[in-house]
Symmetry: C2
Subunit: 236 residues, 2 copies
């Protein structure tokens, strides 16, 4: 993973290489990252992220989620305990250290600093700023929920979506989000973490295999949806 | 579906065809079926059914579930409401009408009668008898749980297992169980029902397509399990 274990260097612009080396100044541009559980106030950002994902996958014709439908289904009035139903980790980034990381009884946010070769130019800073005046921006998310293996006799997690905004890609953030799900699975004694990939997406497959995943070549997904599903509404 | 809508004929042995026709007696051998929610007392039968499924799929090397692990994970002490977590429908059959179908606040059991050409010889009657002295036998089950589509902005169901014991196959019981899940999905306003099939299982694919399902050819399942998953336990 691209996260540095050492204390973060100050967020100054990178000096000239010769100067950097002679002064032992860390190379690169630090970016502070935080993974935390989503809350209902994240829904507007989540809706925009999901739409961007639909654009990326050229599947906007399948996109019909609204802020209202996401809100009522992901954060119902009797919200189950996190990790026992639909659960979302939000990835936040900031050019400066986080000053207000709250503790959470179900998941303590993970904070890491990553040194980048180049600073990130975020063209959507204002859209994804967490709150007015803050220096914190939403960079991505992962949505997952429990599944079950009868052979293992135990639950696992299924990762429905993993998304990082374009300007934050290829920096290890996707791996960071997926690793957070895997770590939580181990913590809970779960047996598996599963997700799907398009068979032509060679780069993604390589990335997942490097993370230790096996690609199941023989299984196909069957989907009953739309009118074909509705037809069962009155079935006897 | 193979279920008859007409009132069930008496469960007598089939008379001679000529006699049958002349007396307007229904043809065939009636079998009474009932689909109901599983309870903790079904765990011993479920464990045996899951093992039979592993044998059928030649995957007994992956089978490590015990009655105890199934019990604690499928029926935890704070069991969530049915359909909001792991949910099991049990298929029961009987040669005689059910006399004790209880109502349930979450799911009213579905009772149907099916006329078979030949009576079923069940070599495991005693193993799968629901209770001593009863005439009711467990014939199969379906295990499913909620999944989520961010594009639709709504939940669906994922069917992990659909299993009918060998002597009860090819009688429409699998379709009956899967239809019950689809019907429940429609009732709850869900957007999808999904499951997986092996790409070489042509008969199953044909069966699912006839039920209205689409087979997604491009997607592959990624699985992180065993030591590769455990490695994330201490990941930073």
């Amino acid at each position: 993973m691209a996260a540095a274990a050492a204390p973060p260097p100050p967020p100054t612009p990178a000096p000239e290489p010769a100067l950097t080396l002679s002064q032992n100044t860390p190379l690169g541009h630090p970016i502070f990252t935080r993974i935390r559980l989503a809350t209902p106030s994240d829904v507007p950002h989540l809706h925009k992220l999901i739409h961007q994902m639909a654009v990326f996958e050229r599947l906007t014709h399948l996109f019909s989620a609204t802020e209202s439908s996401l809100s009522s289904t992901l954060f119902p009035s009797t919200t189950p305990q996190p990790f026992h139903s639909f659960t979302i980790f939000i990835l936040e980034v900031s050019p400066t250290p986080f000053t207000d990381t709250p503790t959470n009884p179900f998941y303590n946010p993970t904070v890491k600093v990553v040194n980048l070769d180049l600073p990130v130019e975020d063209p959507e800073r204002e859209t994804f700023r967490v709150q007015n005046g803050s220096d914190v921006f939403v960079a991505g998310f992962v949505l997952f929920f429990p599944n079950y293996s009868t052979f293992l006799g135990k639950p696992g997690f299924y990762v429905e979506d993993l998304f990082v905004r374009e300007c934050y890609r290829r920096k290890g953030f996707g791996k960071m989000l997926l690793s957070a799900v895997a770590k939580q699975a181990v913590k809970m004694g779960h047996g598996r973490v599963e997700w799907v990939v398009l068979d032509w997406n060679i780069n993604a497959i390589k990335f997942y295999e490097e993370m230790g995943a096996k690609i199941l070549q023989e299984w196909r997904i069957c989907r009953l949806t739309g009118e074909a599903l509705e037809a069962y509404g009155g079935a006897e």
